[in-house]
Subunit: 162 residues, 2 copies
DNA sequence: GGAATTTTGTTTCCAAGTAGACAAAATAGA
DNA sequence: TCTATTTTGTCTACTTGGAAACAAAATTCC
């Protein structure tokens, strides 16, 4: 029996979307997230939480607005995340004398322990999440994404030391 | 005056995250989305809506479960999106005789008009969203993402014709 | 043929994230 | 000084998406 135009066998024509950067990025991110959740299964660690903790660990005293801008999420949402993490004892806030509007963030020992717990899982995930790509291609993919995002891979955004 | 360890000037050290595929994909997707919203400003067209409409247009009669799987969203959410689009008169459902559990989707004339309206904006967006990349690099980025996703760029997921 | 299982879509409730208004503190401008 | 603007974080809705339970139809297994 001949097939009609209706899609069968889960085969889906993507048409113009197959060449859309946004569409490809969205699917790639969802794919990677599912790898993340598989790797961190049972730990209760989520992508948003661990990336915030890692950035605070790398940048002690960072302001939450700066963190929100770098992670491209809204300050309102960052406020909620930080409040929850503070309630969990992962992060501590301090109000700097120089500008009492702001809040400086630092990891507590428990927060540092959480990052340390995640580190090996994170490393293993990154070593296995290649999917169809060769290691060489994955490096190239990351390089292109960093260039797209205008992230300087070596300096990690650190200021030059005079 | 010498700086403390606290991050100033919005400079944020990314540390290990700068080499994390998931982190880079997330930021890239958010960046691209903001380009999308800028390009489609005023039209009321959102990424999820237009991608669903385009896929239905390319695959008349597609089942909503198949669509959900391809877009990597949950059937529950797809049901809500389709219900809203049907209420807007963009999509029509029909129950196939062969399997009365399922629902086949097709665009209405209004749905086709919406896709036609989006097409030039979409094309222009795709031509301008390069950011730091050269056109050559953007093509390579898309190729790597398709390979990561195991999407066959030429066939668009279409079955081979015997 | 008829009960168990699976598939498909839906419904309800919950979590993640955004939008916009707000208050407090800092800064700019006369 | 002292008002006006800006910056920073927060609060209250609202939107988007997922988890789990459910119903109806199809399929499997005897």
């Amino acid at each position: 029996m001949h097939e009609t135009a209706a899609a069968t066998h889960d085969e889906v024509r993507l048409g113009a979307l197959a060449n859309s950067l946004g569409f490809l990025l969205r699917l790639a991110q969802l794919t990677n997230f599912s790898d993340f959740y598989a790797a961190f299964d049972g730990t209760g660690i989520r992508p948003g939480e661990i990336s915030v903790l890692m950035l605070i660990g790398e940048n002690p005293g960072i302001r939450q607005g700066v963190l929100a801008r770098r992670l491209m999420i809204k300050r309102a949402h960052m406020a909620k995340m930080i409040a929850a993490m503070e309630a969990d004892g992962l992060v501590e806030k301090s109000v700097p004398e120089a500008d009492r509007r702001g809040v400086e963030l630092r990891l507590t020992p428990k927060g540092r322990a959480r990052v340390a717990q995640a580190q090996p899982i994170f490393a293993r995930l990154d070593a296995v999440s290649h999917r169809g790509l060769t290691p060489r291609e994955e490096q190239e993919l990351k390089r292109l994404l960093r260039k797209y995002l205008e992230i300087d891979s070596q300096s990690d955004g650190r200021e030059a030391q005079p």
